[in-house]
């Protein structure tokens, strides 16, 4: 791949001055490819865990146990009312120092890396919104349906898993879609705690090579592409899950 395109982009630089250094210098190319993977891992992990947090949270929110409900309300207030950037810094610099670490002689290998903190922070941030999104979906499930499930002998958890969530999920998908698109874009803030994702890497590349406009273009194409793929997938899912006559 690299050998295939490097000639073209080197020529492009020499003839027009457009410096897409990541496509013709081995060192920058390797950094760029690493950044693609780190970004994808970060986004996929955060998407997955944020949805898990949302599903569990929405269930806990309707729990008959008061303490659990209060805990959920506290969690949502905390994460929804603080900027994700501040959360990242807080997690990394404050909580990061309280977690166990291994002395490597001169520095410490932490149990949770900056990547790990980014996944945790972003999942909880987007998760707080997902909880509310799923709650809206759950409230849209008719009360009679819930009663019918109860009459059939379902416990609260069983009814949630087999009856309410499948219906609520369909109602929640458009709003969930929105929030997940936001999460993809928020993932760039992980650069604050030195997670070598796309923005972090390209910012370093443009500082080293003074080619800001070119790298900005790459950055835009990358995120437009990622969000397009996500939205396409979510729409497809929405369509496939549609129940004729419902909603």
């Amino acid at each position: 791949m690299f050998d295939l395109i490097s000639g073209f982009f080197r020529d492009l630089y020499e003839t027009t001055g457009w410096n897409f250094v990541i496509f013709y210098e081995q060192y920058e190319w390797d950094r760029f490819v690493d950044a693609i993977w780190v970004s994808l891992y970060l986004i996929v992990a955060a998407l997955f865990f944020s949805v898990v947090v949302g599903i569990i949270g929405a269930w806990a929110q309707g729990s008959p146990i008061r303490a659990l409900r209060l805990l959920m309300a506290g969690y949502i207030q905390f994460f929804r009312n603080t900027p994700p950037y501040v959360q990242l810094l807080f997690f990394f610099f404050v909580l990061g120092n309280l977690t166990p670490k291994v002395d490597m002689g001169g520095y410490y290998e932490p149990m949770i890396s900056s990547f790990g903190w980014a996944v945790i922070s972003l999942s909880f941030f987007a998760g707080a919104f997902n909880v509310e999104i799923f709650r809206a979906g759950i409230e849209a499930v008719p009360h009679s349906t819930r009663e019918a499930a109860e009459a059939l002998g379902y416990t609260r958890l069983q009814a949630y898993i087999h009856v309410i969530l499948p219906l609520a999920f369909r109602v929640s998908l458009p709003a969930l879609n929105n929030n997940l698109v936001n999460l993809v874009k928020t993932s760039t803030q992980a650069f604050a705690i030195a997670v070598p994702e796309m923005l972090y890497t390209l910012a370093q590349v443009w500082s080293d090579n003074s080619n800001v406009p070119e790298m900005m273009i790459i950055l835009f194409i990358f995120y437009v592409g990622l969000v397009a793929i996500l939205v396409f997938g979510m729409h497809k899912w929405e369509k496939n899950m549609r129940i004729p006559g419902y909603g």
């Binding site: 001055g17 932490p110 604050a192 910012a203």
Partner: protein
């Protein structure tokens, strides 16, 4: 017919726009200088987070060695001074976009940067690449191989140490975060510029740390004017200003004032450019 004509015109316009955008004009202009003199104010881009070159004092005012230099320029021109804080990653863009007239922002002078901004000769300072680490943790550059080393995003020390010694650079947005990460033990060392590390160590906040290695590279620092004006009045004026700073010993004086480790370069330049009044006789 009209359609083909429109297409051709559009093609020419796009080609011209691309051409003008990418090829720097060699012609010197004085627009910015004239505008600056008529408004009676010099706008200088300086660092606000790089002690002691440009930083905020407890009252929030930007002070430092480069700020004093900026003041010298304003005094020499007889205009007032406005300071704009810049970052390593945006300082050249600020100058290109006309947000600042002059940039004195701890910038290393490199050939690719000379294509973008008008770096004025002679250089006003030089520094080297070095690290700060816990006492006894690092004995040689080779000790760093494969280990996490903190850096500042946008600093070019990152790439050269990564390529030369295979260190794993962990770069943060600001110097403060990167040095906090070093203090927390998130990395074995903080790679940066020896003059900045020297002033940190001198500040007394870093008692358990040291600068254990011999500095590498001799990075000359360049102040810059807009590229088009390098060969105009503005560029020539700043060039003369820099000669005066060297020959008068003003930079050595400022270095002392701000507690920067004396560099051989400044002494050498001062000796070289020293103005002998005897020549006038």
């Amino acid at each position: 017919m009209i359609k083909t004509w429109a297409k051709t015109a559009l093609g020419v316009a796009v080609a011209a726009a691309v051409g003008f955008g990418m090829v720097s004009t060699a012609e010197a202009k004085n627009e910015r200088f004239m505008e600056m003199m008529s408004r009676g104010k010099l706008v200088v881009g300086v660092k606000a987070d790089y002690k002691p070159w440009g930083f905020r004092d407890p009252s929030g005012k930007i002070v430092g060695m480069e700020v004093d230099m900026a003041q010298d320029v304003a005094d020499a021109l007889g205009v007032s001074l406005e300071l704009v804080p810049v970052q390593s990653s945006n300082r050249m863009q600020f100058l290109q976009q006309g947000k600042i007239d002059l940039m004195i922002a701890t910038m290393s002078d490199r050939s690719d940067r000379r294509k973008l901004v008008g770096i004025v000769d002679p250089n006003y300072y030089t520094s080297g690449t070095n690290i700060m680490a816990r006492k006894g943790a690092v004995k040689s550059w080779e000790d760093l191989r494969g280990k996490p080393v903190c850096g500042k995003q946008g600093a070019f020390y990152n790439k050269i140490t990564a390529q030369r010694y295979g260190v794993k650079i962990v770069a943060f947005v600001g110097n403060a975060e990167a040095k906090q990460a070093l203090r927390d033990g998130k990395c074995i060392a903080w790679v940066y510029d020896d003059s900045s590390i020297g002033s940190d160590l001198a500040s007394g906040d870093w008692d358990n740390f040291e600068m254990p290695l011999a500095s590498e590279d001799d990075n000359p620092w360049g102040l810059a004017v807009p590229l088009e004006e390098l060969d105009g009045i503005w560029g020539h004026f700043m060039s003369g200003m820099t000669y005066w700073w060297h020959s008068s010993g003003r930079l050595i004086e400022l270095e002392k004032k701000w507690g920067i480790k004396p560099t051989a370069y400044l002494q050498h330049q001062a000796d070289k450019f020293k103005f002998e009044h005897g020549h006038l006789k």
